[in-house]
Homo-oligomer: 148 residues x 2
DNA sequence: CTAGTAGTTGCAATAGTTTGCATTAAGCAT
DNA sequence: ATGCTTAATGCAAACTATTGCAACTACTAG
């Protein structure tokens, strides 16, 4: 069973329908991997299924997000990006506001903060969805811009 | 001297020009307060200065952000929001993905995390700009949706 | 006070994203 | 296998945000 098929089973198991469009989209994002934008996935998936509409990508993405299968993150500039969630390797994202680079951050660091926040405020941060914006090591040392 | 004029001095001091448009925008956001969206500010500021273009709001905002005078935050849905930074009361933001409510979070909690992150990864989070998305106490207890 | 420079503005075009609605078809029950 | 129910799709339009460019003007130097 291909990665896409595995995802199809997973989403069906959560009560969503598996359509040809979704099959192609799932196969595509499983194959591409990494931190994708909607337009990227769209152009790749449309090659496999002409006539596919970009709206369907957005809505499928929203569905996968609701199903807890992808994480979304907004880099502060450029299009929103998303990634398949790997249950064995939960992590947050660090997005560099200078170079757009996306780094992974270990879940434990996040979980620790999340715990503190919920204790202090009652507000539940989802460690899976966490994205922190800042400046990466490289850009910082290049001194392109100091943190304001 | 009005709040808007104080802001005008501040931005002039950082090497930016003070134009009539910026004067009106600064006066407007100082008067409105809170967590504003661009369209909100636009409609209020245009009343004071007809002909004002919404692009100017976006660009002024970007300028104020670069000057370190406003913080931006993305709620994950809806338009981007921003707030004047109060130097005496630095804080991050907690945005509820259910009800769009924005809560403040004490800087010390954030600063602690930022320290850990920079030590582990070299990545510098700016405590002033930090926004965390999650589910607030109210929405959680209403059980509208569990964290996915 | 005047002229020059460079930052700023408005407009138009474009990119990215969301929403409403009619149509289609996946999955369930028979 | 057949029909039913309702989720999902495609299309178009609206909306949010960004960018290029020509015209304008705030500020500085003289």
């Amino acid at each position: 069973m291909s990665c896409g098929e595995k995802l199809a089973e997973e989403i069906r198991g959560k009560g969503f329908r598996v359509t040809p469009q979704r099959g192609v989209i799932l196969e595509t994002i499983a194959h591409m991997g990494g931190h994708l934008s909607v337009p990227e996935v769209f152009s790749a998936a449309r090659d496999r299924l002409p006539g596919l509409n970009i709206t369907t990508i957005y809505r499928t993405l929203e569905t996968l997000h609701r199903a807890g299968m992808v994480d979304l993150f907004y880099s502060g500039s450029g299009p929103t990006r998303f990634a398949l969630r790997d249950p064995d390797q939960a992590h947050g994202h660090l997005v560099c506001s200078e170079c757009e680079q996306v780094m992974d951050i270990d879940e434990s660091l996040i979980a620790h903060l999340a715990e503190e926040v919920v204790r202090e405020t009652g507000f539940s941060i989802d460690p899976h969805h966490l994205t922190l914006v800042g400046v990466c090591d490289d850009c910082l040392s290049e001194g392109k811009r100091r943190i304001s």
